[in-house]
């Protein structure tokens, strides 16, 4: 996208500029000066008609001179000739009535890139042409009456030609073409005309009898920064004012505001219509305009430089990205067919500039250690009391009776007391010691550290007329808050553009390499089983602890009588020595070739091809000293005590588990574009293309390598076919081999077309159509899919209104269909290999998918109405859009009666409807010389509901306790529905509603279908969200802060006390101390009493009762940024040096919930404040 940047302008002191105060300099001197300008810019498109005479004379001379060995002087001569020719032609006026020869001679001088033309045309034909053209020109001159004013309009800052600039002279009006050129007819000899363009200051240009050619430099109106943009759909780039669809655009300045290492988090809070939330249903946590599918993928399609990006989005360095466009409605996204239903995010990388330029940026992020005490939990003392109680009830007796089964230190002490090995006082003393411990102290001290991250990026751009190149290198490293985790990313990108034959051929070559290396040195992890566990003794030695796989301490103390390996697990030792080292290495090489040629008129043929190779290698090395290895070896060991030998089916040595995934993508596209103007007002553009895409993936899970020596790369063979007895339990098991291979192929073929017609540049109609085919199972079914299409229209009212209050008012609307494809289902009965073999050595399969003959692709009907506006000279502006999305033939997925034999039904059975509004506005409160104050507001409202569903949910429990989505007609797709909570009864048991009365007959409530017993609270996904960003700048200092908000959603408090969970050993309850304990407590608390044994229905009721539904509404201070920028090199006008300080995870300003929880961090710890310092420099 093109955008003017504040503080950036070319050095044009010696050039004639029509500045906003309308000072006017002689066009003659302007033209001459221009020829002398070393940084002369040439327009790419030659107009042959006026070009030829000049070339003829010049080239003849040059041909002679160069033949004589003056080749090195060629450029200088060419320039000299330009001056000569200019003087000859400057007063010749080729202006004429509508049509034929359009440019004046003077303009030819200014505009033509002489050198290239000379190289590409042969001088021999010039003579004839000269005669023809001269005659033509003369005949035109005769026809003159009145005169043509012509010229070119450029942006003052970048010198780039501006298209679509409105030129108005009296009642006449025209706009500039692609090259920024215009002509307008004037009857008067002198007067003035208006030059007006969105995002630029309007100018009145005066002219007199002598002036005919104008070089107009428009100065950016900084209020319009967002508006002057070119949006890219991945198939075409269009100026936003010519679009009928709904686009959200994020430019490079906004992308760089947040220095996060991941592009998606950079988009958070600044992108209109985009939501980042954990309930969006995809691992990237993003959604565009809400959800329009039930069970298919909700991930928006991500496109990088025209082609879908299938890899890990975190491999893309955000510093390489120039802009991001989010395609939201049918007119914008339908061109992506069956993958556009969730919206499309188009990422455009930085392209080469046509001058030498270096950009360097560096960023450093630091954050404190996390606070593990953020989430409340039971105290050690409380937990010990419960263990004592359960011990008396006999809960642990089964475990105690199995001599090797792990029991907690407390249970062990109590057991010893029962056996009479310890006295009650001794036990109490020991327990009191344990009551003092909190494992979080040790965890926080030994397992966490301050987070540290840095990013470095340098890009070198160079280029001239024919070749442009940008090379960028990036290196990022992050050291996470966990002492064992770090990550490293390296990016290399080279983008190259050749234009050897002007319009006839343009070649783009992009090569991109990235490498992402992640380390987790404690892959086995450690989650404390008891809150009082101690990890380090007073002398600083690592202590043993329990995990799910550890055996009882008293057993491992003596097991094997010294013949076995040490059988203890010491978490600190594992972590500090990196004994379980997981390393992932993700490399991607992507190269893209694009050929573009314009063989005839405006017809443009584009061929592009992208190949991408991705190698991903994950390996976990369990050191021979690791608990994992020792445990694996020990459990299969057999000891012959008589002979004193140990037989180890798994030999000593490390264990390696490695897998590799290789992915190839080949995408090819052939596309014809055209862009024709008919008469002065009709403008037709379009494209037609065909595309092939193939994604192949080969997974090779190498399985486990035993007895591995990482230095010698040797390993041992083991018997993975026989059953061996486990040493401790006498059960049997096989040594896991873990080898597996998998190949995936995803083939697609698509045909698409797009058409756009505009009348007088104000009224625009667009249409698109696309058909997709792919190799998913049951081809005949997916071929039935109807083509997806869209139509759109927009109208710019400004010329109609013609007032001073509005600068720009455009109404646009679109309608059409997007699609969503679910590749996990098929029309056929399918099965897959489940286990490599059963106990008789035969392979066995699992039915994956029951046959479904009526399978269709999902369609999303999408309607959008929007208005774009700018009022009061840019004081305010923005866009307001309403949309309706109706999901049709959606795949439905619901629990079915077990007699069916599958756990779920899956088919095209649902429809949904989503309505919403996207508002984006800015206000320029203050704009003086040095002080700017501006506010940007984003508001998004989305309301979805299920309108049709084939299967009605049966009992209340199917609606309430189902962890996924249960579509209920008339309610939001992702609803939070809970049992109605009626308080605790006098026994401390929670009550629900049966016939409107409090009741503890949980089974009736849960299994019944009386919907009075359940309450719909609301959507789980925010329904109103957005951001308010204030930017204040004073001279070179800028301060901005972003406030984000999310409203209209609920979450379930999952940390409330559960008796069942506590019996099972969980202690992470925030409200245990508030539980009911005595009669009368029910007046003050809603937390039920502790009951033993487990009562499943009671627990299922309380854990899903409405008292635990919490409103998630909150307002957050998302970030604050302070920056200072200056230009240290005065001679390099484009250069800029800036420093910034950026803070995020600052905290909530307001939250609705009373349980003191940040809705973003419902579990785990809260991310501490992060501070970034950075600098960027470019020249």
């Amino acid at each position: 996208m093109r955008k003017l940047r504040k503080g950036e302008s070319y050095d044009r002191t010696d050039r004639p500029i029509f500045t906003s105060n309308n000072t006017y300099k002689s066009p003659k001197s302007a033209c001459l000066n221009r020829l002398e300008d070393e940084r002369l810019k040439y327009s790419k498109n030659a107009r042959t008609s006026c070009l030829l005479p000049r070339i003829c004379s010049k080239s003849a001379l040059i041909a002679v001179l160069s033949g004589l060995g003056f080749r090195e002087q060629k450029n200088r001569i060419a320039k000299f000739l330009d001056v000569v020719v200019f003087n000859v032609y400057k007063n010749m006026d080729f202006g004429h009535k509508k049509g034929l020869v359009q440019l004046s001679g003077e303009q030819c001088c200014q505009e033509q890139p002489t050198r290239n033309i000379l190289d590409s045309l042969k001088p021999t034909a010039y003579g004839l042409l000269l005669i023809f053209v001269s005659m033509f020109s003369l005949s035109d001159a005769w026809a003159q009456s009145g005169r043509t004013l012509s010229g070119v309009v450029r942006s003052a800052a970048e010198g780039q030609a501006l298209e679509g600039v409105s030129i108005r002279l009296d009642k006449q009006q025209t706009t500039t073409d692609k090259n920024g050129q215009f002509k307008i007819w004037s009857i008067e000899q002198e007067g003035s005309f208006e030059v007006k363009h969105l995002g630029y200051k309007t100018q009145q240009i005066a002219f007199d009898a002598l002036s005919t050619v104008f070089d107009i430099q428009l100065e950016a109106d900084e209020n319009y920064i967002e508006e002057v943009e070119v949006v890219s759909t991945g198939y075409q780039s269009i100026p936003k004012e010519r679009a009928t669809g709904s686009f959200a655009h994020v430019n490079s300045e906004m992308l760089n505001r947040n220095p996060s290492m991941n592009i998606l988090s950079r988009l958070d809070g600044i992108t209109n219509g985009l939501l980042l939330d954990q309930n969006t249903g995809n691992p990237d946590r993003i959604s565009v305009r809400g959800r329009s599918t039930l069970f298919s993928s909700t991930r928006p399609l991500i496109v990088v430089d025209n082609f879908p990006f299938e890899g890990d989005i975190s491999n893309i360095s955000p510093n390489d990205i120039e802009s991001v466009t989010v395609l939201k409605d049918a007119a914008a996204a339908s061109i992506w067919g069956v993958r556009s239903g969730n919206g499309v995010i188009v990422i455009t990388t930085k392209k080469a500039k046509d001058r030498f330029r270096i950009d360097f940026s560096s960023n450093l992020l630091v954050a404190k250690k996390p606070d593990l005490f953020y989430a409340k939990q039971m105290s050690s003392s409380e937990f010990i009391d419960v263990e004592k109680l359960l011990f008396e009830q006999g809960e642990y007796d089964r475990d105690i009776n199995t001599i090797y089964k792990n029991i907690s230190p407390v249970v062990n002490l109590l057991h010893q007391q029962r056996l009479g090995e310890l006295s009650e006082d001794e036990v109490e003393a020991e327990l009191d010691k344990l009551r003092e411990n909190d494992v979080r102290n040790d965890l926080q001290r030994y397992f966490y550290r301050p987070k540290f991250q840095h990013q470095q990026q340098i890009s070198i751009s160079s280029g001239g007329e024919r070749v442009k190149n940008v090379l960028s290198l990036g290196y990022d490293r992050s050291q996470s808050e966990s002492i064992t985790t770090d990550n490293e990313r390296f990016n290399l990108r080279n983008s190259n553009q050749w234009t050897p034959f002007k319009d006839y051929l343009q070649i783009d070559l992009d090569v991109w390499y990235s490498r992402n290396v992640s380390n987790e040195r404690n892959a086995s992890g450690y989650t404390p089983m008891y809150p009082y566990e101690k990890l380090v003794d007073d002398d600083g030695n690592a202590l043993e602890a329990s995990t799910l796989s550890t055996l009882r301490k008293s057993y491992t103390d003596t097991a094997g009588r010294g013949y076995l390996l040490d059988w203890k697990f010491r978490p600190l030792e594992e972590a500090y020595n990196g004994l379980n080292h997981y390393k992932s290495n993700d490399q991607q090489l992507r190269y893209q070739i694009g050929l573009s040629s314009r063989p005839y008129r405006s017809f443009n043929l584009q061929l592009s091809y992208l190949a991408s190779n991705n190698w991903m290698q994950n390996a976990t090395l369990y050191d021979e000293k690791s608990y994992y290895t020792r445990n694996t070896i020990n459990q299969f060991s057999q000891i012959d005590y008589n002979e004193g030998i140990v037989i180890r089916p798994i030999p000593l040595g490390s264990i390696l588990n490695e897998d590799k995934t290789k992915s190839w993508s080949h995408y090819g596209r052939a596309q014809v574009n055209w862009n024709e103007k008919f008469g002065s007002k009709h403008h037709l553009t379009g494209l037609l293309g065909i595309e092939w895409r193939q994604d192949k993936q080969m997974f090779d899970g190498g399985g486990y390598v035993y007895g591995y020596d990482p230095f010698l790369e040797t390993f041992a063979k083991v018997d993975t076919y026989s059953y061996f007895p486990y040493y401790h339990s006498g059960l049997y098991g096989m040594i896991s081999e873990g080898r597996s291979r998998l190949r995936r192929v995803d083939n697609n073929r698509s045909l698409y077309a797009l058409m756009s017609y505009s009348y007088a540049e104000d009224l625009i109609f667009t249409g698109s159509i696309r058909k997709d085919e792919s190799n998913i199972f049951g081809v005949s079914a997916n071929k039935k899919g109807v083509p997806l299409w869209s139509i759109g229209a927009s109208y710019n009212f400004q010329s109609l209104l013609n007032n001073h209050y509005s600068d720009y008012i455009k109404l646009r609307t679109s309608f059409g269909y997007n699609g969503n494809v679910d590749k996990n289902t098929t029309a056929l009965l399918t099965s897959k290999l489940w286990r490599s073999s059963n106990i008789w050595g035969r392979p066995l399969d699992l039915i994956l998918n029951p046959p479904n003959n009526s399978l269709r692709w999902e369609r999303i009907q999408n309607m959008n109405i929007g208005i774009d506006f700018s009022l009061l000279d840019g004081w305010t502006g923005g866009s307001i859009e309403f949309f309706v999305k109706n999901g049709k033939d959606l795949m439905g997925h619901s629990p079915v009666a077990p007699q069916v034999g599958v756990s779920q039904f899956y088919g095209n059975v649902a429809s949904t409807s989503t309505k919403g509004v996207d508002i984006q506005m800015y206000f320029t409160w203050l704009k003086r010389n040095n002080i700017d104050f501006r506010t940007d507001i984003i508001f998004n409202g989305v309301k979805d509901k299920v309108t049709d569903y084939y299967i009605n949910p049966g009992s209340n429990t199917d609606i309430v306790t189902n962890s996924g989505i249960v579509p209920i007609v008339g309610y939001p797709i992702n609803s939070l529905v809970l049992y109605k909570f009626m308080g605790l009864d006098s026994h401390g048991d929670p009550t629900g509603s049966v016939d409107g009365n409090p009741s503890t007959s949980y089974s009736n409530i849960i299994n019944g279908d009386d919907r009075e017993s359940i309450i719909f609270l609301g959507s789980k996904v925010p329904t109103r969200f957005g951001a308010i960003r204030n930017t204040i700048s004073y001279q070179k200092i800028e301060l901005s802060f972003n406030i984000t908000y999310k409203f209209g959603y609920y979450f379930r408090n999952s940390r409330s006390f559960s008796s069942q969970g506590l019996i099972g050993g969980s202690y992470k309850y925030s409200d245990y101390e508030n539980r009911w304990q005595n009669v009368g407590d029910e007046l003050y608390t809603n937390v039920p009493k502790f009951v033993y044994p487990r009562n499943i229905n009671r627990e299922a009721f309380y854990q899903n009762s409405s008292v635990l539904g919490v409103k998630g509404d909150h307002i957050r201070l998302q970030d604050v940024r302070i920056s200072y920028s200056c230009n240290p090199l005065r001679r390099q006008p484009g250069s800029k040096l800036s420093f910034y300080l950026y803070a995020t995870n600052i905290g909530l300003i307001w939250k609705h919930n009373a349980i003191d929880v940040d809705p973003h961090f419902l579990t785990g710890y809260k991310r501490p404040l992060e501070l970034s310092f950075g600098t960027s420099f470019n020249f």
Binding site: Y396, N401, G668, V745, D958
Partner: protein
């Protein structure tokens, strides 16, 4: 440049012209089963098809829990509630394997039968294809039998048309639900499936792959079903069908008395593999110190009876069970074996008064069960005492196989008046003969979603 263009264009066309581009298999692991071998792999999924319900074991009197606290600390409500024959045995638990896995088996077999029906219509089924068709029919019948005996009233010829059976599904489509058929309809389906399977199954058996159905398995299954229905002539007839073809027994003198897994997956007596779903209280090698083998049962064994040592371990507190006929499996064995067929035959012989033939056959079994040289020949005095002796032998031999519950139901129908009792703390729980609690509840999620009639308990 031109070269690049040509290469590029050729590349594009080569992709587009390829016939297979849109029919390439998207995933090497996933396939649409069409070949015969594809269906065999589905049938080999013994972890679904080989599983039957453990409820009859949990409710029967082969084990006891030694204290109320240990009963309370059972890992699931089903284990707790079925022990005391509670009105609701699931206690709120859903996704009950004892129902679901059997219907999953029915879905598998229905899918296979439907696909094979297509092939059958076109080209007919021979050889392996026919065999697989037979296996699928057999497994469908086996699953329905397990369901109908557990979730319907104990079989009674008089009321079989009124008694509610289970939903009968013979179409794999997943977009419909069935109401409960009558018991007689269920048995009609079961018998027609097994009889049909006998026409298609090509192996007599047993095969090395003991999960695969054979003619032997079909006969043995029929013998078991008819015995449960108290149609003793047919039970005997099918027992004969087995024993005429194959009657090998394992001599327990050849087995290790210490081994916790005395049998392998392919031992001689094993006709067809089968096991229940997993429950701690039903598990083999239970070392929790809570669950022990019924002492009355243990007392029945003579010291020289090797079964006492091979089936059980004398742990602190009582006897617990070792692994049984399913090799290293930890769940009760529910498959088919020669000893069961032989005992069916013996019982039928006794019932029709052929006590001498019965004694000869009994000796044949018990010679392999007693320590060498210690076995004293069976002498049956009269029909009545012979029957009592045979039934005791049946308890001793077919222990921990989920057969005891069905025998109690069957014998109580004949007036045996077997009363079951459990003691927990100071409470005593009693299950009267022919109590409605002999019928298990249908899982609540099934009732909720398909609205079929629940059993009265």
């Amino acid at each position: 440049m031109k070269k690049i263009t040509i290469v590029l264009l050729m590349g594009l066309f080569s992709v587009s012209c390829s016939q297979d581009f849109l029919s390439e298999r998207p995933n090497s692991n996933i396939l649409a089963p069409t070949r015969i071998a594809d269906f065999q792999r589905l049938l080999d999924n013994f972890e679904i098809l080989g599983v039957s319900s453990a409820l009859p074991h949990l409710a029967a009197d082969e084990y006891y829990i030694n204290s109320e606290s240990n009963w309370l600390s059972s890992r699931s409500a089903i284990e707790r509630n079925s022990y005391i024959w509670d009105e609701d045995i699931y206690g709120g638990e859903v996704d009950i394997k004892d129902w679901n896995t059997l219907y999953e088996t029915i879905f598998y077999t229905n899918s296979i039968i439907k696909e094979l029906d297509k092939i059958k219509e076109i080209e007919g089924l021979q050889g392996e294809g026919a065999d697989i068709y037979g296996q699928a029919l057999f497994y469908r019948a086996r699953a329905y039998y397990d369901l109908v005996k557990n979730f319907s009233a104990p079989f009674d010829k008089m009321t079989e048309n009124e008694d509610l059976g289970v939903p009968l599904r013979i179409d794999p489509s997943i977009d419909y639900t069935e109401k409960r058929a009558s018991v007689s309809e269920c048995y009609e389906r079961i018998f027609s499936d097994i009889e049909n399977s006998l026409r298609y199954l090509s192996h007599i058996g047993p095969l090395r792959e003991r999960n695969r159905a054979t003619k032997l398995a079909a006969f043995a299954q029929l013998s078991r079903i008819y015995l449960y229905r108290r149609e003793y002539d047919k039970a005997e007839q099918y027992a004969d069908s087995v024993l005429h073809r194959y009657d090998r027994l394992v001599d327990y003198n050849t087995l290790s008395l210490e081994a916790t897994s005395p049998f392998n997956f392919t031992h001689d007596e094993l006709i067809l593999y089968g096991a229940t779903g997993t429950y701690n209280n039903a598990g083999n090698l239970n070392r929790s110190g809570a669950v022990f083998v019924d002492t009355v049962l243990i007392d029945m064994y003579d010291f020289n009876d090797l079964r006492l040592h091979i089936y059980f371990i004398n742990n602190e507190g009582g006897y617990t069970v070792k692994r049984g006929y399913n090799g290293t499996g930890l769940t009760p064995f529910t498959g088919l074996a020669i000893d069961e067929v032989l005992l069916n035959k013996v019982e039928c012989l006794v019932r029709r008064g052929q006590i001498n033939d019965a004694a000869i056959l009994m000796d044949k079994l018990l010679l392999n069960r007693y320590r060498k040289g210690t076995y004293i020949k069976t002498v049956f005095k009269d029909k009545e005492s012979a029957l009592q002796q045979v039934l005791i032998e049946r308890r001793k031999e077919l222990v921990w196989r989920c057969l005891r519950w069905d025998d109690i139901k069957r014998l109580n129908k004949e007036g045996a008046s077997i009363v079951l009792k459990r003691n927990l703390g100071d409470k005593e729980y009693i299950l009267e003969p022919n109590s409605p609690r002999y019928v298990f509840n249908i899982p609540q999620d099934e009732i909720n979603r398909s609205g079929i009639v629940q059993n009265e308990r």
